[in-house]
Amino acid sequence: MTATAEPDLERLFEHTIERDQRIEPRDWLPEGYRKTMIRQIAQHAHSEIIGMQPEGNWITRAPSLRRKAILLAKVQDEAGHGLYLYSAAETLGADRADLTEKLISGRQKYSSIFNYPTLTFADVGVIGWLVDGAAICNQVPLCRSSYGPYARAMIRICKEESFHQRQGYELLMTMMRGTEAQRAMVQDAVNRWWWPSLMMFGPPDAESPNTAQSMAWKVKRHTNDELRQRFVDMSVPQAKALGVTLPDPELKWNEERQHHNFGPIDWDEFKQILKGNGPCNAQRIAHRRKAHEDGAWVREAAAAYAAKQEGRA
C-alpha cells in the first residue's frame, strides 16, 4: 500500500461507514474506534466464557438425560461464542492470551448478569428465556455492526441463541404443567432474574454519553432505552402465555405510547455489581482463573509435542 496522509485515510474510513459498508481488519482505523471495538468485543467474549458457569452448575443435576444433553450443548455453544468473539478481537490486534489475562486479573469486565447465582433448575429455564432473550435483543442489531468480523460472529451467534431461548422457554412450560411446587419455583426464578435482565441493556440514555459516538460509527444501532423497551414489550405476552407474573407492579400497557410502562430500575444494585460486590463476582473469576491455571500443563505439553514433531519432519 502506498503511504497516504492520515486525513485522507480518516475520510475513507468515514465514507465506508456512511455507505453502510463494513470496516475490515486491515483497513486504517481511528484509534478510538479500534479501542472501542476491542473493549466491546472482549467484554462480550468474556461474558460468553463466564456465562458458562451459572448454567454449568446444573449439568450434573439436570433432571433427565434429555435435559442434560440440551444443557451440555448449550454450555458448549457459549464456549463457542466466546471463541468466535476472541477471534474477532484478534483481528484488531488484540492477543488472546492477553485478553484471558485481563479477564482473570479483573482489568476487563464481563456482563453483570453472570454475577447472580443459579439457585434452582428453574433458573436454567429463566436464563434461557429472559437472559438469552435480552442478549438476542442486544445482538440482532449487532449483526449490522460496522466492524465486519464482529458482525459476522454475531450472525452465527444469533442463530445459535435462538435455540438457547427456546429450550429455556420449553423447560419452563414443562415445569408450569407440573406440580404447585414446580410452578412456584418458576415464579421465584422469574422474580429474581427479571430486574437484572433489564439492567443488561445498560444505564439510561441520559447517563450514556458515549452513545452518540458509537451510533455515528454504527457500532451501536439503537439506544439502551430503546432496546430495553423492546425487550419489555416482547416479554409481557410471553410471561402471560407461560402463566407467570413479572415482578413489577407498575408494569402496564400505555395506549398512547403503544408500549408498556415499567417501574424504576435499581441502578445502585447494578453499580455495586460492576464494582465487584455482586453475589458471585469473586467466585466467577476464581473459577475461571483455576480452570486456566489447571490447564497450563496441558497447553505446555501440547506445545512441546508440536515442537518435537516439527523437529522430526
Binding site: K35, Q43, L83, G202, Y305
Partner: protein, 118 residues
C-alpha cells in the same frame, strides 16, 4: 458512575480504566485461519480463526468450533502467518489494473434485442 455503553452483546460495557491495548504476555499456541466447505459444490469459505498447538489439533478444534451443526463437509486450516494478503482497501492501487477494463464484462457489448439466446 463509571462511563458505560451498552449493546455489547450480553450487557453494558465499562469504558473508563479498561485497557484495550496489548501488553505482550506470553503467547500461547499459534493462530490458525479456518476455511469450511459448507456442502458439496461450494468453495471453502473463511469462517474465523482459532489457536492450536499443531495442524492436527487445529483441524479437530475447527470441527468442534465451526461445525457443531453440520455447517461443513470439509475443513482447511492454515497458520495465519503463512497467509499473504493484499490490503483490502478498495482504493488500493493493487486493484487498479482491472478498474479500466470494462470490456471484460458482457454488458460492455451492445447486441440488438432481436438476437436470441445471447
Amino acid at each position: 458512575m463509571t462511563e458505560l455503553t451498552a449493546e455489547g452483546g450480553h450487557g453494558a460495557v465499562p469504558l473508563e480504566g479498561v485497557p484495550a491495548g496489548s501488553s505482550q504476555v506470553k503467547h500461547d499456541w499459534p493462530l490458525y485461519e479456518v476455511f469450511v466447505r459448507g456442502k458439496r459444490g461450494l468453495n471453502h469459505v473463511h469462517v474465523g480463526s482459532l489457536h492450536a498447538a499443531d495442524d492436527e489439533m487445529a483441524l479437530h478444534n475447527a470441527r468442534d468450533l465451526y461445525t457443531r451443526r453440520n455447517e461443513g463437509v470439509s475443513i482447511w486450516v492454515v497458520k495465519a502467518t503463512d497467509i499473504t494478503a493484499s490490503s483490502p482497501d478498495e482504493k488500493d492501487p493493487f486493484f487498479a489494473p482491472s478498474g479500466d477494463k470494462v470490456y471484460r464484462h458482457p454488458t460492455f457489448y451492445e447486441i440488438p434485442d432481436n438476437v436470441p439466446h445471447m
